[in-house]
Symmetry: C2
Subunit: 151 residues, 2 copies
DNA sequence: TTGCGTGCAAACGGTTTGCAGGAAC
DNA sequence: GTTCCTGCAAACCGTTTGCACGCAA
């Protein structure tokens, strides 16, 4: 896919009947710059560095708008907040170590077999745009073979 | 695995130095009866039917305790609240339709290949006790092939 | 000039916490 | 008698909402 320029994106928004405001321009810009997944709060902070009069609710509303247009994807990693990610950067997945917190990336095609299985067996079209898999990484896994205990 | 009786469980708690209170007994009982995943709020409601003087924070504290002892598992399906499940009932997974909300169960061994792959390729011990996979079920998937639009 | 988008503030819902009193051991 | 556990109330945190104003079109 060809990465769109900021101008193109802004025009696209307008073409679909949405107004172009400085807030939207900024939020759009910030989230496109982020290589990683970011929370609404992080985007808010970044935007405010440039233009301090933006409100957090505007950030949420804009992110919802962009998600509706499939320009950003929302990911809930089950940590009590939602992360956002510029959709053009493509799908990727996470291996998250529950011990040391390390996050590794995981290629799309490793999930392909599972996706196929679900489709064949259940006719279920899995949306694996963003998946988080928790567990223990190589280092932490080898250290503690044991299981649970009182915390 | 052999299912433990209520008595055994209560003794086990005491053996580990935890006190046995009516609240804990009740919460333990309620969550064991639930075949499904339940929220703290649901457990709270059930407990209060029997003993109305229980507080929601006690429910949370007890659930945390039981989760620490690996007697219950916590599952975050990304719906803004955590679901609890009696651990002895075994692992199972969910196929959740993002359109109609239907939830289907998924057997453990369908995820086994993925688990193996992760272990071999990355040495990553995936904890797939409870996994939620979002997407479109057979019915909803066949109805709308199209994608996103402004909402 | 129209009405969409914004800032503000307040509300929300699930969850956590500090504290003092009470119950289990 | 100690210590853990509980109820209460308030705080928390991410997110949403109602409203009136202001700016993009």
């Amino acid at each position: 896919m060809v990465a769109k320029s900021q101008d193109e994106l802004e025009r696209a928004l307008q073409d679909q009947g949405y107004r172009l405001t400085p807030q939207r321009t900024l939020i759009l810009e910030v989230i496109r710059e982020c290589d990683d997944h970011v929370s609404a709060e992080q985007i808010y902070a970044r935007v405010r560095e440039v233009y301090p009069y933006v409100n957090i609710s505007t950030v949420y509303r804009t992110l919802d708008l962009l998600a509706g247009l499939a320009l950003v994807t929302k990911t809930d990693l089950g940590e009590g907040r939602v992360l956002y990610h510029w959709a053009e950067k493509g799908n990727h997945h996470h291996l998250i170590c529950q011990k040391c917190g390390a996050v590794a990336s995981l290629d799309d095609d490793l999930l392909e077999p599972l996706k196929q299985t679900l489709l064949l067996k259940f006719g279920f079209q899995a949306n694996l745009d963003h998946i988080a898999i928790f567990g223990h990484c190589a280092e932490c896994g080898s250290l503690s073979p044991s299981g649970h205990g009182p915390h």
